[in-house]
Amino acid sequence: MLKDITLGQYYPADSVVHKLDSRTKILITLLYMVMIFVVDGFIGFGVLLLFNIFLLFLSKIPAKFIFKGLKPILFFVVFTVILNMFMTDGKVAFRFIFWDVTYEGIFTAVFMALRIIFLVIGTSFLTYTTSPITLTDGIERLLSPFQRIGVPAHELAMMMSIALRFIPTLIEETDKIMKAQKARGADFETGSLIKRGKNLVPILVPLFISAFRRAEDLATAMEARCYNGGENRTRLKELKYTRLDAYAWGFMLLLFALILIIRIIGFDIRGF
């Protein structure tokens, strides 16, 4: 059940996307996010869709995995759609009980839903194709120029990698505790919202206790190995730009240009 959450997990495979330098992937992801907000119509989204399909084939990640990753944000998407559908003024399309639904509302709703979905799908490729360690290495290297103005790059990266490292562990732990409480007749599926919230106590208390215990153990283990910060630390795997990164950048810049052109020329479909 909880094990089925795929969003934010690393999916090991042998693909060109996996081989890209993590710094390239992080920056490309940022560029992709900018692109999503540049797009203002369905043709733009069509281009992004093609890009995502291309990425899917290139990265060898099963499509099922991607769709599963969308599940946790489903509620959020539905919420956005409903809100936009009923709250936008314009030409009335039909009446729903006592609310007017406008053409503009439907368009904004679909548009926003697409935006969120593309945002999640596209950015999830970053975590699917990059192991947490190289990801944080990349972040650290990207942040290191800012160290001069007091950004603790190494510490931030370390915190992130520890947090990422413990997500699967905590999920497993939660699963185990949930099962143990269910075996004692705990019920997490029925009852009012308040009751359900109360029912979480038997999970949260043991979970916090074990998380604190793990944190302490980890701190002790790091201390025992004389860990101290980023100065002069070497790496097992050095990050290295290759020709692949240049290709990726070339491709992305072309894509960005295309998206910009669609936006500037303004022939995109922006309504019904």
């Binding site: 099922k64 099962k179 143990a180 269910k182 075996a183 004692r184 007749g185 106590v201 038997p202 043991p206």
Partner: protein, 288 residues
């Protein structure tokens, strides 16, 4: 027949590259009052199997019958099955959450919807069985020692008065004194309450000392199922799948190989001593 498992198969994350068949076509049945030892090396599917017995996992294929009734025939009723078939997980102390020991043990009975009186009675009964003294009931479970926490957690399951109790390595990580005390309590429980016990353990001694029947799992399948003596007589097969027999049994197998006229159906040190005395007695000329 109390519990019956029919052609049970479970696949984790089916239809993905991570899909893994944890158990495959497993069938067996359990009679009331049995004491069963479930053994198998790590990853052989024991944990997956026991989580099916009280409906924590749903079978990919196959059925489980409790008292002749399919436990999944009515999804709403699955909680009732969990009160009947108690499951104590590995390191069960991780499930403690309440402010006091009493409240924690009462969690199960409370979920059953029993009256305060009945809950109190059950908490006291469960404490009595696992050996938790009354003055500990008002303490926080987090103040207790490891062995005591473990007992409180086991009491939390026993307080539901299940007719079957499944224990997944209840002695893992305990000192010898804690181990013996927990195992003896379980044995007493089996004798005095007539409860059916399924004990998962890596200690062949613990199994030999308690169980009357052994189920052996390997790669998600049941490879042996029979009386304790019978299963432990198949030393070579057990060793081939990464398991073993009790040390003392092993000694007698070696003695036999070395030409001594001993019986090899020895499971405990007590039996071993008697057998040696018997053999020595027969050959009165041998002096120690």
């Amino acid at each position: 027949m109390l519990l019956k498992v029919e052609n049970l198969t479970h696949i984790y994350m089916p239809d993905t590259t991570f899909s893994k068949t944890a158990i495959e076509n497993v069938s067996f049945s359990i009679e009331k009052g049995e004491f069963i030892g479930l053994i198998g090396h790590s990853g052989s599917g024991k944990s997956t199997l026991i989580q099916h017995l009280n409906g924590l996992l749903t079978p990919t294929e196959g059925k489980i019958f409790y008292n002749g009734e399919d436990i999944w025939s009515d999804k709403e009723k699955i909680r009732r099955i969990r009160f009947e078939i108690g499951l104590v997980f590995q390191y069960p102390e991780a499930q403690l959450f309440e402010e006091t020991v009493y409240k924690d043990i009462a969690f199960g009975p409370k979920n059953m919807g029993l009256s305060e009186e009945e809950i109190k009675q059950r908490v006291y009964d469960a404490c009595d069985i696992v050996g938790i003294r009354e003055e500990m009931l008002e303490k926080s479970p987090f103040e207790l020692s490891g062995g005591q926490k473990r007992r409180v957690a086991i009491a939390g399951v026993l307080a539901m008065k299940p007719s079957i109790i499944i224990l997944d390595e209840p002695t893992a990580g305990l000192d010898p004194k804690g181990r013996n005390s927990i195992l003896n309590r379980i044995k007493q429980l089996h004798e005095s309450w007539g409860i059916t016990v399924i004990l998962v353990s890596h200690s062949m001694e613990d199994i030999a000392n308690n169980a009357s029947r052994i189920i052996v799992m390997d790669h998600g399948k049941i490879v042996m199922d029979g009386g304790t003596e019978q299963v432990f007589s198949r030393v070579d097969e057990l060793e081939k799948i990464g398991l073993s027999v009790p040390q003392v049994t092993k000694v007698f197998f070696e003695l036999k190989k070395a030409g001594y006229p001993v019986n090899t159906n020895i499971l405990t040190t007590g039996e071993g001593r008697d057998e040696i005395l018997r053999v020595l007695g027969k050959r009165g000329d041998m002096k120690c």
